[in-house]
């Protein structure tokens, strides 16, 4: 097996996932369109997945918990996207907007 780990340490992956997560946080806070917020959430989920896989590969190479976790994260994220997009579609049909600032009352 060739030396795959050469020059790239666990810290590299952790910092990459931190940067990705912070960008996702910025997107969720700054964006007002529901679909764009959902896309930023996807970025954050991916950051967590990178973290999980990196720790699994670097600290316990013979166990696969982190990888299994990442697979479940992807499955749950797919379910979440499907449901959230259904809700957004419904809100758009009822209110004529997908802007979360305009959907501010539980009663109309």
């Amino acid at each position: 097996m060739e030396d795959v780990a050469a020059g790239v340490s666990l810290q590299h992956y952790v910092v990459l996932s931190m940067i990705l997560f912070s960008i996702g946080v910025y997107g969720v806070l700054a964006r007002r369109n529901a679909v764009l917020i959902l896309m930023s959430v996807e970025l954050m989920l991916n950051a967590v997945s990178i973290n999980m896989v990196a720790f699994a590969v670097y600290t316990a190479p013979s166990l696969f918990e982190g990888i299994i976790f990442a697979i479940f994260i992807i499955a749950v994220a797919a379910a979440e996207v499907g449901l959230a997009l259904g809700v957004i579609l419904r809100i758009f049909r009822n209110r004529g907007t997908a802007n979360v600032d305009e959907v501010n009352s539980l009663k109309w």
């Binding site: 960008i23 910025y26 990196a54 299994i68 797919a78």
Partner: protein, 164 residues
Amino acid sequence: MTQIFFYIMAATVVGGALGVVLVRSVVYAALFLVMSLLGVAGVYLLLSVEFLALVQVLVYSGAVMVLIIFVLMLTRVEDLKQHLDGDQRPLAAVAALSLLGAFIAVASQTKWPRYDGDLTVVPFTTISDALFNRWAVPFEIASAVLLVALVGAVVISMQEEGER
């Protein structure tokens, strides 16, 4: 060599993510998201987990992106361009940057476990072994979750009588 690939992948991931949160057009944002997700698949390849890279490309940059682009089309975001961003952009930037600062501060002070051996490629058979023996019950629960989400999404977005 690995280092060069890592930095290329990291630049793809971070550049795509910045595009998602900064760009003015939602369709471009969706395409930047594809770029970022493919970069994440590359990172999985660097971590020698081929199966996850495959799933990432198929599920995320395939299925999820098709769904998102469909909803962008159906909610006509491109036509109703106003208010993609709120007034709280500076505040959001401050919050995200301070979060990143805290993360980096912690990361630079932590003693990370060093792994000196080589990363071995995780074969598909090992993952399926773990998934269908040890993690069989969570796997089945995940499939039930997917089924429920599917039915729920259909029910939620179904057109009611009298609705336009």
